[in-house]
C-alpha cells in the first residue's frame, strides 16, 4: 500500500492485459529454447520426428565428436582471450572517460567507443576483412588466429566498457580523494579503492564480452581462415548435413556455457556489492 504511494506512478503489474503480454513475451523468448533442449533428449534419429523416448545418447555423441570438441575449445579459448584483452582496455577507457579533469574530445571518445554497438555486424565484418587484406598486402605476415582475436576484441570493447563506466560513474569520487588524502599514490588508490569497488562492473562487462565473442557468427564467418571453425560456425555447417537431435544437444551445450557465464558474473557482482 505505502509502496504504491511512494512510487507515485501506477504499478504496471496491475494494468489490464499485463499478464497476457508478459506470458506471450516469455513464450516467444523461451519456448523455442525449451523445445531445442527437450528434443535433445529425443530417441528419434530425425530432428523433426515425434517424441520417441528419453536418451542422452546425443550428448554422448556430441562430446565424442572430434570436430565439435575442437570447435568448442577454439571458441572458449578465443572468447576468453577476447574477454581479457577487451576488459582491460575497456577498464582503462572507462577510467579515462570518468576520472580526472574533463578533457577536449572526451565526448568524441565516448561516441567512438560506443558506436560499434549500432554499426551493422556485416559492415564491421566486411571492413575488417578489407582492412586485413590491405595490411596483408603491405606486410607479408600471416596473423592466423590473431586476425580473429583482433576482430573479436574490437566488437567486445563497447560491451565491456558500458557496465564498467556505469559503475565508475555511480561511485563516489570522494572515496578516491580520501585515499589520496591518506597518502595513497595514484596506483595504490586504484589498487585498494577504485578496483575493488568497480569489480561488479568489470565482471558484468567481462561476462558480456565473453558471450558476445563466444556466439558471434557474422563477423567470424567473414574473417575466419581455413580450419578456424568456431562453435557457431561448426553448428551452422552441420545443419546442412543430415539433421539429428545431436544438433539440439550441441545447441543446448552452447546455451549452458553462456548461462554459466551469466550466472558467474551475477554471483560475483552480487557478492561484491552485498
Amino acid at each position: 500500500m505505502a509502496k504504491a504511494f511512494t512510487h507515485g506512478t501506477a504499478d504496471v503489474k496491475k494494468q489490464p492485459g499485463f499478464a497476457v503480454i508478459a506470458a506471450i513475451c516469455i513464450a516467444v523468448l523461451y519456448l523455442p529454447l525449451m523445445i531445442i533442449a527437450t528434443y535433445s533428449f529425443n530417441a528419434a534419429s530425425n530432428i523433426g520426428a515425434a517424441w520417441k523416448g528419453f536418451t542422452i545418447d546425443w550428448y554422448a555423441s556430441a562430446l565424442q565428436n572430434r570436430e565439435f570438441y575442437d570447435a568448442a575449445i577454439l571458441s572458449i579459448g578465443l572468447a576468453f582471450a577476447a574477454m581479457v584483452i577487451s576488459t582491460v582496455l575497456a577498464t582503462a577507457a572507462a577510467l579515462g572517460t570518468t576520472r580526472g579533469k574533463r578533457w577536449r574530445g572526451q565526448t568524441a571518445a565516448f561516441v567512438t567507443l560506443t558506436t560499434p554497438l549500432v554499426i551493422p555486424e556485416i559492415v564491421t565484418g566486411i571492413s575488417l576483412l578489407a582492412f586485413f587484406a590491405a595490411v596483408a598486402a603491405l606486410i607479408d605476415i600471416n596473423f592466423g588466429l590473431g586476425k580473429l582475436l583482433i576482430a573479436h576484441v574490437t566488437f567486445c570493447i563497447p560491451f565491456a566498457y558500458l557496465p564498467i563506466k556505469a559503475r565508475l560513474e555511480g561511485m563516489d569520487e570522494t572515496l578516491e580523494n580520501a585515499a589520496a588524502d591518506l597518502y595513497a599514490t595514484r596506483w595504490q588508490t586504484f589498487r585498494y579503492v577504485t578496483l575493488p569497488l568497480v569489480v561488479p562492473g568489470i565482471s558484468s562487462g567481462a561476462a558480456l564480452a565473453f558471450i558476445v565473442s563466444f556466439d558471434d557468427f557474422t563477423i567470424t564467418q567473414l574473417i575466419a581462415g581455413p580450419g578456424e571453425t568456431t562453435l557457431p560456425l561448426y553448428i551452422y555447417t552441420r545443419i546442412r548435413r543430415a539433421l539429428t537431435p545431436e544438433i539440439n544437444a550441441m545447441c543446448t551445450l552452447l546455451l549452458m556455457i553462456s548461462f554459466i557465464f551469466i550466472i558467474l558474473s551475477f554471483a560475483i557482482s552480487k557478492r561484491r556489492s552485498q
Binding site: 570522494t174 572515496l175 580523494n177 580520501a178 585515499a179 589520496a180 588524502d181 591518506l182 585498494y192
Partner: protein, 366 residues
Amino acid sequence: MTEFQSSATSGSAVDMLGIVKDFDTFRAVDDVTLKIQPNEFFTLLGPSGCGKTTLLRLMAGFETPTTGSILLGTKDISRLPPNHRPINTVFQSYALFPHMTVAENIGFGLKMLGRSRSEIKVTVDEMLRLVRLEGRGDSLVTRLSGGQQQRVALARGLAPRPQILLLDEPLSALDLKLRQSMQIELKRLQAETGITFVFVTHDQEEALTMSDRIAVMNAGKVLQVGSSRDIYEHPADRFVAGFIGETNFLQGDLEAVDGMSGTVRLKNGVRVSAGLSEEAPRHGAITIVIRPEHIEITDVGAAGSIAATVATVVYFGTDTHIHTHLADGTPVIIRQQNRRDGSRAPQTNALIGLVLPLGASQVLRD
C-alpha cells in the same frame, strides 16, 4: 598521550598567504590570508557557498590556488599532491571505504605510509580506544550507525598523526543530541592529540562553543578572525554582526574619538560611547551594533536613556525577548534573563527607556 604532541614548535602551523581560487570566471576564494597556530582549534564559519570547502580542499591539496601560497611551517606546499601533505581530512560524507572493516579503514593511512603490520595494529587499537569503539575493529563500516561512522572517520584521519586535521562540517549529518556529544568529543580529541584542527561549520553556535579562534567568511572573503568572544562582542562589520547571534543596529554620527572608543550621537540625540576597531571609520555617519542581552531597561526619560515602545514580549524559559521600536521606527531587541522573583519584564505597548552600557556597543567597519 605525549607521543601525539604535534612536532611543530614555533610559528604558525599553516599559513594561507593571499590565496585566490578561481573556477573559470567565478572567484570562490578571494585573497584570503590566515595564520593558523599549532595546537589550535580553528573554525571557518560562513554561510553556504562562501568557499569554506574550497579553502579546505586547497589545504588538503585537491585544488591548487590560482595565486598565493600555502606554507606548512616554513615549507611551501601549495603545489604538492594530497598524498605528500601531512594533512588529513574528515569528509562531510565521511567517505569511509565501504569494502573494508573498521580497522582496515583506520589503518589505511599507515598502510600507505608503509608502516609495519604490528605498528598498524597497535595504532589502530589505540585509535579505537580513543574514539570509544573498542572491539568494533572487525565490523564492516556499512553496519555502523551514523555517529559510529563519524568516529571511524575521525580515527582514520588521526591515525597517521597528521600535523593538521581538516574537518568539513563533520557533525551536520548527526541529530542534535549526538551532535552535542560529538562536539565535546571533538574538543577532547583535539586536546588529547595536540593536533591542529581546522573545522568548518555554518552553525554559529557550534563555532562559538568549540573554537579557539574563528574566521568568519562570506563570498570567498575572510571578514574577521578572532576568539569566540571577540567575534561575538566586537563584530567588525554588519555581516559578522548579523551572522552571529541576534543583534541590533543603530545609526548615528561619530562625534569624538578617543583611542579605541568614540562618542556617538544617535539619531534621537542620545550620546553613547562605543568601541572602535582599527578598521572602523574615525568620523561621519556610522552604524553601531549592540547585543540584545547587553541593553538595560530603565524608566522612560531617565538620563542618557533612549525612549522605546514595547511591541511584543516573548517568554523563552531561561530568558525573555522584548521587541521594541524607537521613535523613528528602528527595531531594537532586548534579552533579559528571567529571575525567580517574578516578572520585571515590561508590558506590551509600555514606554520604556533603554540604556547602552559603556563599552557594550561597537562601531561597524563599513
